[in-house]
């Protein structure tokens, strides 16, 4: 998210509305927003219904894999502060691009907590959706 925030004007130029979706309690969502200063609106999905609608996985095994534990260990070694758990730690995230006709154009369900698509991959799709002059 911190990598995407500086691009919010670029997303706007691509006629793209970015939303973050969370199942977290609004109190923690507000705290997260203050910590990250994310410029994107936060949509609340407290029952994780939309996570299921979009086919996102819920996996204890993949949430706490060796890769994930190493990721957190490296973050601690860099001096980053880990925050106490705030909700369902087994729910995985993901990114989706939907065009202005409501058709899915990009699907990226995270395989584990550290897995996200590259910005380049998402920008390629969004640029392809722009009208040709």
């Amino acid at each position: 998210m911190t990598q995407l925030a500086p691009l919010h004007q670029e997303f706007a130029a691509l006629n793209t509305q970015v939303f973050t979706v969370t199942f977290g309690h609004p109190y923690w969502a507000q705290a997260w927003l203050q910590e990250t200063q994310s410029p994107f609106p936060v949509l609340l999905d407290p029952t994780q219904e939309v996570y299921r609608l979009y086919g996102l996985d819920h996996s204890a095994v993949r949430s706490w894999s060796v890769k994930t534990l190493l990721y957190y260990a490296r973050a601690l070694m860099r001096g980053e502060k880990l925050i106490e758990k705030r909700g369902d730690t087994h729910q995985l995230g993901g990114n989706f691009i939907i065009d202005n006709q409501g058709v899915v154009q990009f699907v990226y369900p995270s395989r584990d907590p550290t897995d996200r698509p590259t910005i380049a991959a998402m920008m390629t799709v969004l640029k392809r959706l722009q009208p040709t002059s």
């Binding site: 979706v21 969370t22 086919g55 996102l56 995230g93 990114n95 699907v107």
Partner: protein, 44 residues
């Protein structure tokens, strides 16, 4: 669980926002905008 695929119609949904508003994904599409949805994990 059904997995979404490129080319399918996206499920619409009426959300409440953290700012206290109500937003449907289809509102964005009707305005001619594409949507990038980022589903977060737990807020740590």
């Amino acid at each position: 669980m059904t997995k979404l695929a490129v080319g399918q119609r996206a499920p619409d949904y009426q959300f409440n926002t953290l700012a206290g508003e109500s937003v449907a994904l289809s509102d964005t599409w009707r305005k001619g905008n594409h949507t990038l949805l980022i589903f977060l994990r737990h807020l740590a």
